[in-house]
């Protein structure tokens, strides 16, 4: 395997083997492990997976199979056991069948998941491909959604409702033109002038409009929601009566801790006085509060990342490999 210069997977990079010989051995070990896993999967696919029960049981060879049932004009995903039951009743039936497009979709999702995870081994072309696919698909989806949601319905639909309804958006309900839509359209067109070196100054006007509007909104809402409302919370009673004595003690303790935390953290960020004596003591307590806050944030972040990994693992084991069936999909 070739190394990719400048990537985090090169020997000697932090957390990577410094000795190229060690790195080569690690690569060989990895390839061997992957080969064993691939061989096991091939054997399992050849043996097959039994779906259904009793006399209806059928063997499915392969992974990521998705079965659908025809309902009206469309198809609805059904458990593999339903397919087994339908085939047992009538081997020639076409009502419940394998959906090859959906099966390919599961395979694509599984391979892209593995491709992204391969970055943990080191940067590689497969990861780059997956990354590009994700970025490209996301950008394309967002752009097409924005065009239809904003440009077609909100601008064209208001300026030329008849034409828009006839050629672009049959469900449009607007019947009369709203010429005010020319204002955002004009501002948007001016914004495109930023692409030209000679006319880029024209693009400053819509940009100033956007920045001004958002600054105004945010200033007012931050003051109302994050300053005044939070200050008002500080005037809540420190004694918090609960349904039990323990709840009362707990609630009161929490209220006192919040008050102490606010005052000491403010003391830490108050630089007009030297952090000595009582102010210095309060600031040190404030630092502890900040550290605990950062720790809690880190803990929440870890939880979020593990949740995402768990979701992908469950997808691989359940939808793709059929090793488990927690949701009764098979």
């Amino acid at each position: 395997m070739s190394q990719f210069p400048g990537t985090s997977g090169t020997p000697g990079a932090p957390g990577m083997p410094a000795d190229p010989a060690v790195a080569r051995r690690a690569n060989r070990l990895m390839i061997a492990v992957l080969a064993v896993i691939a061989a096991l999967l091939v054997v399992r696919a050849w043996v097959g997976t039994e779906v259904g029960s009793g006399a209806d049981a059928q063997v499915v060879h392969g992974y990521g199979m998705v079965f659908v049932e025809q309902q009206g004009a469309g198809h609805v995903q059904v458990p593999a056991a339903e397919w087994a039951q339908a085939v047992a009743a009538d081997p020639a039936q076409q009502r419940v069948m394998v959906s090859w497009p959906r099966t390919v979709g599961v395979w694509a999702a599984a391979l892209l998941t593995l491709a992204v995870l391969s970055f943990l081994w080191r940067d590689n072309p497969v990861y780059k491909l997956a990354e590009s696919v994700v970025v490209g698909v996301s950008a394309g989806y967002v752009m097409s959604t924005a065009v239809w949601s904003s440009l077609v319905n909100q601008v064209f639909g208001k300026l030329a409702p008849g034409l828009t309804k006839a050629y672009l958006s049959p469900g449009l309900t607007t019947t009369e033109s709203d010429w005010w839509a020319l204002v955002p359209l004009g501002l948007g067109m001016l914004l495109l002038c930023r692409l030209s070196a000679r006319l880029s100054w024209v693009g400053m006007f819509p940009l100033a409009f956007v920045v001004g509007v958002f600054s105004g909104w945010r200033f007012v809402q931050y003051v109302e929601s994050d300053l005044l409302a939070q200050v008002a919370t500080m005037f809540d009673p420190l004694y918090v009566a609960g349904p039990t004595a323990a709840a009362t003690v707990g609630g009161t303790l929490c209220a006192v801790l919040v008050l102490v935390g606010v005052l000491t953290v403010l003391a830490y960020f108050f630089f007009s006085l030297e952090h000595k004596g009582p102010v210095g003591g309060a600031a040190r307590i404030g630092v502890w509060y900040l550290m605990i806050t950062f720790g809690a944030s880190f803990g929440f972040t870890v939880m979020g990342r593990i949740a995402l990994l768990a979701a992908r693992c469950e997808f691989l084991f359940d939808d793709w490999l059929w090793l488990i069936d927690p949701a009764g999909k098979h």
Binding site: A18, T145, W217, Q221, D226, A310, E314
Partner: protein
């Protein structure tokens, strides 16, 4: 630090450990419990925290037929964390007979809404579109959409996703501004999401005659930013997958309490299933942090002695 592996101390060896062993250990810590839960079907019991209980009570205390606006402000990248809570809240609303209005401020949120409603209401033919639930879909504009909805929902959404004008949708009869909803729920992965809903739509109503009740569900990364708003500016908060698991537990317990013979479908225990990998993943993280500190101080002492 030792220069030769054969003579290196245990601390030096650990200091130079290939990081891929850490990745492998984390993968095993997460994957093994998933397989165990998948095979046995067992989940851990949950003890709901006050913030999650507050969210549950906010939905539970509404009279049947109340109108709940659910904004699913996330995309597939965060679905592993947020989808279970979206499913649990919508399911809870449906079990209580509330009327549900869905929307999203994220372009990729549309399919998320479709999937959630199909999962929850797919086997509920009594829940008719337009009468019991409606999907407004995606609208670009972030805070702009919120500001418009504060005064008139129809300013932001002239029609629902099926191009039906709002005034012809029975369940939205009498809804003018966002404060006319009985509860606002935002399940969000970032900007624009729960924080902006608090700032732009909830806080302005707090001093008015009808404060808008608000419940948030958020990713782990975003949760610490939202906690200061609880309980004065939001009735409850579902923090990350743990919050989702607690909420699921509360809803499932309510179902079992109403009908002891009821079997909770596995698709409504997704967050609870994810708690076993969380446990082992966190234990590993704590162990690695402790080990890292032991190695750090061990090496420092060694150098000081040398």
């Amino acid at each position: 630090m030792a220069t030769h592996a054969g003579h290196a101390s245990i601390f030096a060896r650990l200091d130079r450990i290939d990081r891929r062993w850490i990745f492998l250990a984390m993968f095993v810590a997460v994957a093994a419990p998933i397989l165990w839960v998948g095979v046995t079907g067992k989940t851990f019991p949950e003890a709901p925290t006050p913030a999650v209980q507050g969210a549950f009570d906010a939905v539970e205390s509404l009279p049947s037929g109340a109108r709940v606006l659910v904004s699913m402000d996330f995309d597939p990248a965060s679905a592993g964390e947020l989808q279970p809570m979206a499913t649990a809240i919508v399911r809870h609303c449906a079990l209580r007979g509330h009327r549900i209005c869905t929307m999203t401020l994220w372009p990729a949120g549309g399919p998320i809404i479709d999937g959630t409603m199909q999962d929850v209401l797919g086997d509920r033919p009594d829940y008719r579109y337009g009468e019991h639930w409606v999907n407004l879909g995606y609208r670009a504009g972030f805070e702009g959409v919120m500001k418009q909805m504060n005064s008139r929902v129809s300013l932001a959404y002239a029609t629902d996703v099926r191009q039906t004008p709002l005034e012809r949708i029975p369940m939205l009869e009498g809804i003018t501004g966002i404060a006319d909803f009985d509860l606002l729920v935002s399940i969000s992965a970032g900007y624009a999401g729960a924080k902006e809903w608090v700032q732009y739509s909830v806080s302005p109503t707090l001093t008015g005659s009808k404060p808008l009740r608000f419940v948030a569900g958020s990713t782990g990364v975003q949760t610490p930013q939202l906690i200061p708003y609880y309980p004065n500016q939001m009735a409850g908060i579902l923090g990350a997958i743990k919050g989702a698991a607690e909420y699921e537990y509360l809803v499932n317990e309510a179902v079992r309490k109403a009908d002891p013979s009821a079997i909770v479908p596995a698709k409504f225990q997704e967050a609870q299933r994810r708690m076993a990998p969380q446990l082992f993943g966190h234990v590993l993280m704590v162990a690695l942090i402790v080990l890292g500190n032991v190695v750090f101080f061990g090496l420092r002492n060694r150098e000081a002695r040398a």
